[in-house]
Symmetry: C3
């Protein structure tokens, strides 16, 4: 919980102006539509302005230039700042950082003697760190995590409970790996043999996750057959994302929930996928590409495209075709009619 | 295993009538098509009546009013009851409850001193219960489970192996969380910044799972940015379901395997999704809505709709359009023909 | 790492001929396009022949009958063999097997006294093996794995970290189960009751995984309601695959990432699904069926079909219809035009 703060104190922190009761006290943060007494909220998007006049929040942070078109409640005090959204985010971060920081090595963990560990790390009970791992400073390894042989983890990275990192993988600095993510499992590589069954192709590569990456819970990122599967700096993945062997995901690309990328495909920088997008193997996606939810990309794509469909093509063209698809039965009727008229 | 029972004993239990050998003995349950000597089965759906005449099950439970249209095998004894299906389910439950009940706290577990625990709980080895958690009576916590700070778990709830529950989340009574489910990981919230990369938006809310909920294995349910992601009473989710931050899933709604729901969407009561359904963010789905497998819902939906497609619309209309879609090449030929005739 | 080998030594191993410097030394394997000094690579597919003339690999394995259409670099030595691909795979396997083998039972594990274990097994710390489990010879059980009551695991099987196997399930010989896979969780079976909610149908069956199966990370394979969910010999599943209760997957069938199969469906032998394929419940898929990525199969399918679409039909027909779908807006214009001309 936040300690208690007055409107005046918060205005001071944010360099803002109080409009209302400077003595009113808050002890938690809320969305404006869920505001209640003693909570602090914000209004940034004017589409939701109506909520300002009905909220029970005790304090609402708003932009300096906001014009009130209705009276606000007596119980509501405004703090006017240059940018309500970023001011509120600053408070969110302060709140988040007020939580106690885990530190120390809990007794029931297992750390191989050959492992090298940095300063100020946390290793929870039942975490397992294998031979020759290298753990940076200030790394937090939660309970029941598995760190394989020769794995490297950069400074300040957080590995939540139950993450499994296979041998040889490399995790950068300032990363967050959420619970249950699997990094470096074998790529899905099999060669058909003469018995109508498959021989396993050994997967001797690894996974490299660069700095500032956040990996969602229960993601699966496979090691390369040879070389590396690479998740570049600043990538963010949502829940249950599947990334196959030898894939490269470019800087600052964002993959929404349940996205799947097949083997050896290269995704550019600053791309975005919607939920449940699938990308086939051995294709190259350019930079700044946006792919609508549930689309399936079956070929290489140039920079700056926006796509939809399975197989995917231009978003606008897809939506036009889909509008006609909805009308197909009436279209068929019109063709029937034309045929009758002509005969 | 069941102990051995005679047809007469089971008929007594179910208040039914024996037709055949009252002394015949069974020791297991089976489906009628997989019936074998000493197994007990049932026939409720008359579409499968033919199986009754060929089954090797020693006993079959049938409805009182069933008319036999063929002779049954000599090895098969019938027990006639009011409702064969519910009688059989009663036996299934009795069988299920005959398994030994786990109880006690295994030595190799970790339970923070500040945790409050109820009576008759089970905590398996390598389970980790963090500070200030509150665990109800008769809760079963399997090995390698992680329970974060301040988590609350209601009476009679079962948490299977490897479940990870982040701090502050609240789990109701009589819930079942299957192996590998992740509850309360950070919502997927990032704000673009001036470096073409993203700043993380702290996720300070939680997840609330109400009573009588069953969560499938390897599900991921994210905590709210602020406030709560809420899974209401009686919800059932299948394998690998993804539920994003600030989602609300209404009472008794059923989500099939690999369904994904994006941030802030509200799903009504008694809805059903097929497998691999996707629902976009910030929409409201009414009560009793049914969504066919692989459909993608991109807008708010009223009560009682049945939907298919990506984007989804009325199931019947989709199926009509899809029938025409299959015929599109011949439709194109007909248009070609018409154009020729006219010119 | 590989020890160092000369071209002459490797040629001897593979029964090949050196063309270039027999003394050149390599110490790692690489793809030809990622070749660097001291690495060994191969060229099997002539579509990539151009890479042979630019690679920095010190040694490249090629077929005996390969004709050089350009000069190769001075730094590159060839080894000619009968089959470059299989020779290279042989080296990959040798490399893979050179890793140290885990053996022994780590102290911080839990093994119930009633468990039977074979010779030369590995049990990592924080692994939990329940009552009456039977573990074969040479089985490797990684840390934080859960093995339920009465589970059987065949010889030489590898269970990676965090796998959860519920009670009564049976795993064959020579299997690999990747991290986080859940085997034998309850099938998704509920019966609607009079309160508009659901009663759980007890799931008293199990999962049987036959020999030579590889299960991908974070897969979920549900136990049967009664009887068994069966994964037959030689099946391979990719990441995040969902297999519901009472499904049977036939021999040597390959399921790509995020495939989902609903309850009671039977899949034939030697089938292949693309990524994110969905198969509805209670259908039968023949042998040698191929299903394109993101397709949804809604009915039973005969042998040797190739399918696409949601619902899926013949791949070729789908692609023809989809080509017309892309042109639908112009088709509509042509119909408008025809109508004008006629009126």
């Amino acid at each position: 919980m936040l300690m208690e703060f007055t409107a005046e104190q918060i205005a001071g922190l944010l360099n803002g102006d109080v409009e209302g009761n400077p003595e009113v006290v808050v002890n938690k943060l809320s969305k404006i539509e869920e505001g209640e007494p003693q909570s602090l909220s914000f209004l940034a998007n004017l589409a939701y302005e109506a909520r300002l006049y009905t909220t029970d929040a005790s304090i609402v942070i708003v932009n300096k230039d906001l014009k009130l078109n209705n009276p606000i409640k007596d119980t509501c005090t405004l703090i006017r700042v240059d940018d309500a959204y970023s001011s509120f985010t600053k408070l969110l971060e302060a709140y988040d950082q007020s939580k106690p920081v885990k530190i120390g090595i809990e007794k029931q963990s297992y750390i191989a003697e050959s492992t090298t560990v940095g300063n100020d790390i946390y290793v929870g009970a039942f975490a397992y760190i294998s031979d020759n791992a290298v753990i940076g400073n200030n790394v937090k390894i939660y309970p029941q995590t598995f760190i394989g042989d020769n794995v490297e983890i950069g400074d300040n990275t957080i590995i939540f409970s139950g993450v499994k990192i296979y041998h040889e993988c490399v995790i950068g600095k300032n990363c967050i790996l959420h619970a249950g993510a699997v990094i470096g499992s074998d790529g899905f590589g099999f060669a058909p043999n003469d018995n109508n069954s498959y021989d396993k192709i050994p997967q001797i590569g690894n996974v490299i996750i660069e700095d500032d990456v956040e990996i969602g819970p229960n993601n699966c990122i496979d090691r390369a057959t040879m070389g590396s599967t690479i998740i570049k700096r600043g990538v963010k993945t949502d829940n249950l994302v599947h990334i196959a062997h030898n894939v490269v995901v470019g800087e600052n690309t964002v993959l929404a929930g349940q996205t799947g990328i097949s083997g050896s495909s290269k995704i550019g920088k600053n791309c975005m996928t919607g939920g449940q997008v699938g990308i086939t193997g051995h294709v190259t996606i350019g930079d700044n590409v946006k792919i609508a939810g549930q689309s399936g990309v079956s070929k290489s794509i140039k920079d700056n495209q926006v796509l939809q469909g399975s197989p995917a093509f231009s978003y606008n063209d897809y939506m036009r075709s889909y509008a006609s698809f909805k009308n197909l039965p009436s279209l068929v009727n019109r063709i029937n009619e034309l045929e009758k008229l002509i005969k």
